[in-house]
Symmetry: C2
Subunit: 148 residues, 2 copies
DNA sequence: CTGACACTTCAAGTGCACTTGAAGTCAAGG
DNA sequence: CCTTGACTTCAAGTGCACTTGAAGTGTCAG
């Protein structure tokens, strides 16, 4: 087993397509060293970085936001467990907010959907007061507050 | 207050842009009657239908899926509370699954992100065994199971 | 040396959910 | 009658996250 990974190997191990990895590099989310012939080589630690990207996407961050998070990692050394934990700490709140929204949505099924309150006078879904940590490209106002 | 709504009125009351309403009509999600001059007129019940669409999107359904759900509504009468509840009943499971995923994600923060298990041998995030009820256009394999 | 296959760049295409713009029509007040 | 604003259609554009294709180079087994 080699010390460094080719793009195909990283793709296979991470489950992320090679084209996506090149795209991430273009966007500055990951970096690569090159062989004399121009082929990308990744240190094994890149696997964890790609993992972070995938997880963060599931949490609902855009690639731009993920890039901003990754920029907070130390550049002078390989990130340690504590570094990753520090970054992902901010996810916790985001996840909790999204869970709260989904629970409210669930508990309101049949109540708000079925009733006449959707004219937005008194429905408790109208102003949940939480920001939604989810990529939602659809129309939002019932349930408030655009993509944040 | 008129018995029927113009598109601007429906847009204002629902918070959904008029252009989006026209788009929904094009996709068959909503329908309109026309005045002699071709302007759209919506019955007040359309407000609830649009509400359903917005809510369903927050739950993570695509417009195509929402259209399929709406097609199950009775066509010979205005949908009643029970009709809407029947449709949204299927959301409950979807919401619960998504909540479970988020909880697992949250509880694994720092544990899986920080550790070395992301080489996908033993990480418990790799095979959560649940289908993710979320539009996720990103790469998926850690955390399994593409968009459905 | 010859295939086969992995890799390279760059441009264009995809899917979803819309939005925007152009060009024109309709409705109501002054 | 004139203007203003809401409406109409149709085509094209947008943002995100990639994917696909073309044309070419590198690597390695036999």
């Amino acid at each position: 087993m080699h010390e460094e990974l080719a793009i195909g190997e990283l793709a296979r191990r991470s489950g992320v397509a090679a084209s996506a990895l090149r795209f991430y590099e273009e966007r500055g989310l990951i970096h690569s060293l090159r062989t004399a012939s121009g082929h990308r080589r990744y240190p094994r630690a890149m696997l964890r970085r790609v993992a972070f990207i995938v997880f963060a996407q599931r949490v609902g961050l855009t690639l731009e936001e993920i890039g901003a998070e990754l920029a907070r990692l130390p550049r002078d050394r390989v990130p340690q467990k504590a570094d990753w934990q520090r970054l992902s700490a901010s996810w916790r709140q985001r996840i909790d907010e999204r869970i709260a929204e989904l629970e409210q949505l669930r508990d309101s099924l049949g109540e708000c959907i079925g009733c006449g309150c959707l004219s937005m006078k008194q429905c408790r879904l109208v102003n949940p007061g939480d920001r939604l940590g989810e990529r939602a490209s659809g129309p939002v106002r019932w349930l408030q507050g655009r993509r944040s």
